[in-house]
Symmetry: C2
Subunit: 473 residues, 2 copies
């Protein structure tokens, strides 16, 4: 059993980082115990902001010794409550933001060695300044940190061509619950020397140890980039277009996002300064990104070929290729503001699901029936990374009828939508993780063999159970 | 402690698969207890050839109950003794070859669900017949099995563009040591629901459970393919050419192999029907493969651009682009026969190393000194997947002086070469795994934190220690 830390123990933790980096006052602690959507909050007696791996190591060693729970936190942008202490007020928060050095930039090997606290946008900028691309890209990139991205195996809008955070990482440095440092910061493309420890820590949401640094892959910066906005009649037509785009552009197809018309309308209605991207209405919208490693002309040629083939096959109602960098940026800003744009429409019950790509149309059809069965007037708000089989599928409360009790439907709505996901052998958390939010559902619905395996691994790596308790398993 | 199986226990195992598939005679068992290079051999009282997952499950359940060691085996092509019983004659061999069904071919989702015993070449042919590519490609593809490929995280010649076996797998079915079936045969590109169990079993060399089936990715078949053979003066020039080829072809660069001149000479001298690919001599040879998803013309254009840029920069001594499918096949046959071609030259002490790609020239320079320090007249025989930073680096006994005692130098030669690898933060097993061959060295030289973690995971998943004992950790 874990312990409630005494004042003396809190002082011992604080002494490791020094008084300036040990936060104990309610107001200084506040930003670390609430989440961006306001769904979760917790209490903590202490937020520690270590400035070195050595300090992280000493903190975890003491925590294991004293049986104190530790909750690692990056940029605090997670959406499933994985980065917060519980309400008991006994769990210590370990904020990694001060570990923000670039340890090495090795352009010939195409890697950067980055500490956990580096903000994703900064890493992208550093790569960009060297004419390289670090492809991980998501809405919160201005504040999320690379350690959190790895701990949650972040997805985002560039997974189609470059993979998840997992796929961008060649090596890790992890502080284990005992305080031991597992140093595997290698730059190797191939290494078959024993079990794949790296991938065990990636996506473990801080329940097995604390990622303090990583070797990350850099890619050549595309020489040409085109963004296409299309209107289509149905998810089935969107799938047919995706198949055309994949076959035409292959690895140069770096984005394929599907958006229901209402989400586009919400952006125009509620967010400042956006205009409809298409002249005519369409039930479904698609944002396609082409990135050519060769030239701007090459990217343009591929984009035109895809659009021409789509029109010829009768799959496109309306479409436009962005005519300037400004318009490209505008298209992506619209896509990225969709989460925020639905907020004024009232409460939403959210899902972050994936199914095999070919099953996307079927999922959309069956999930709409599932939503209606729970609340006939609820509005479906659906958008996401169709190319990855991943949709953000939300049920928003009936139009005009603001009623906080809609959120009481959260469990039953989740179950209805997730039952469709499960019937298609899909995932109930494609990219956001399990955290606190989906833990109970995972425990109840995942195969017992899988849960049992995960628990055995957890016990093996963190026998005292101090790492981020109550999350994942 | 594990037990020596009694006759009654052997009978109980045999009854699970039926007498026709339980081999006990010395001559029928022989093919399962020796390896292709003749470096390892073992003894077993019983080879089981189950015909279903259910039978595998019953075998492992009984093995755990009776504390009998089980050694899983695929096509028996592994090079590190991972697939054999030890000399004690108490370990049972579990051969997966009869689990050879294609469970599903889902072209729209771009996946195939294949059982463990399917031979790699057959899987490649099945994909090819559907105008798809299953990219895993290695010398033994005519007899290795996909379960073994996954258990050893096989590499080969297409890793540069498509990744290792690990990267080609979306889901697994694994029978655990308890006999429980972990069914995670999902077709998802994104799934963040708990720990990454899949990657724990991939590359574990059968020490954690038995992979019985997998969901594997299929890719569009390239529409154009070009193969280039080049002669260069040095590994440094080869690296510069690799950078040009990467920048020019990006994802269309699907192969970049480096070969020392002597290995090319061995092929011409010892293998039937090969001719020198270049008119003039060159200390180092390179085989480049370009695969275009667009067209044959596109591939040709990229190949010509790379060759032109290489000549212009003075990096190429001589070069030729294959002029026919027959010549392309001939180039690859030469590359693939290199392991065999060095055999007539006498005994070789072998290494399967990786370093960061940019360190390849430095490795080659320093490793040559290391070899000379152990045996001044030993001949370095070096070839491999340069684009992955992976070389097969062998020390062959002095020319003309056939002397079996050369192999007595194995440990000291390994140490000398691997010390260079370690000084460059490389891997002593880039693609062949650890098995029995490199276990002692791994235990002695890997960071104790890593070994300790692996052992804890092993104990967590296989507490009775029945799975492939004495391998990996």
């Amino acid at each position: 059993m874990l312990e409630r830390p005494s004042e003396a123990v809190l002082d011992a933790f604080a002494a490791i980082v020094g008084p300036a980096y040990a936060l104990r006052e309610t107001d200084t602690v506040a930003p670390y115990v609430t989440d961006p959507r306001g769904l979760f909050s917790g209490r903590t007696p202490l937020v520690l902001r270590p400035g070195s791996v050595e300090e992280v190591s000493r903190i975890l060693r003491l925590a294991t010794e004293m049986k104190i729970a530790v909750v690692p936190q990056g940029g605090n942008t997670g959406l499933v409550g994985g980065q917060h202490p519980d309400a008991g007020g006994t769990e210590i928060v370990l904020s990694l933001g001060r570990l923000d050095r670039i340890r090495e930039l090795d352009l010939r090997s195409g890697v950067v060695v980055a500490e956990a606290g580096i903000i994703l946008q900064r890493l992208r900028d550093i790569a960009d300044a060297q004419d390289k691309l670090f492809p991980l890209s998501l809405g919160s990139q201005g504040s999320c940190q690379i350690g959190g991205n790895l701990s949650s195996n972040a997805g985002g809008t560039s997974v189609l061509a470059y993979g998840n955070a997992r796929d961008l990482c060649l090596g890790l440095e992890v502080v284990l619950p005992t305080g031991e440092v597992f140093d595997d910061l290698r730059k190797l493309r191939k290494d078959n020397t024993g079990y794949d420890l790296k991938n065990l820590f990636i996506g473990a949401e801080g329940t097995l140890g604390v990622i303090t640094a990583a070797v990350l892959k850099l890619f050549p910066k595309p020489r040409g980039r085109e963004t296409i906005w299309l209107g289509v009649a149905s998810p089935g037509d969107a799938l047919a277009l995706f198949e055309i785009a994949s076959a035409t552009a292959a690895g140069a197809l770096t984005g394929f996002e599907l958006m229901q018309e209402c989400v586009v309308d919400f952006v125009i209605k509620h967010m400042h300064g956006h205009r409809p991207p298409l002249a005519s209405a369409a039930p479904w919208h698609i944002l396609v990104e082409i990135s050519s490693g060769r030239s701007a002309d090459d990217a343009r040629g591929l984009a035109e070929e895809i659009v021409a083939a789509g029109f010829e096959r009768g799959l496109i109602l309306d479409g436009t290729i962005a005519e300037s960098l400004a318009q490209t940026a505008e298209f992506w800003r619209m896509r990225e503001s969709m989460t925020e744009a639905q907020r004024p429409e009232g409460a939403s019950i959210k899902h972050d699901i994936s199914v095999p790509v070919a099953d996307i149309p079927r999922f959309i059809e069956e999930a709409a029936r599932a939503v209606a069965s729970v609340c006939p007037d609820a509005r479906v708000v659906c958008f996401g990374h169709m190319g990855d089989g991943n949709l953000h599928y939300n049920a928003t409360q009936p139009a005009g009828a603001f009623d906080a009790s809609f959120l009481d439907l959260y469990p039953v709505m989740n179950k209805a939508v997730h039952d469709v996901v499960r019937s298609l052998s899909g995932s109930i958390s494609a990219e956001h993780g399990i955290g606190r939010m989906k833990r109970q559902e995972l425990l109840e619905t995942a195969p017992p063999v899988a849960i049992n395996l995960m628990r055995r691994l957890k016990d093996a790596v963190d026998p005292a159970g101090i790492m981020n308790p109550g999350k994942v398993v």
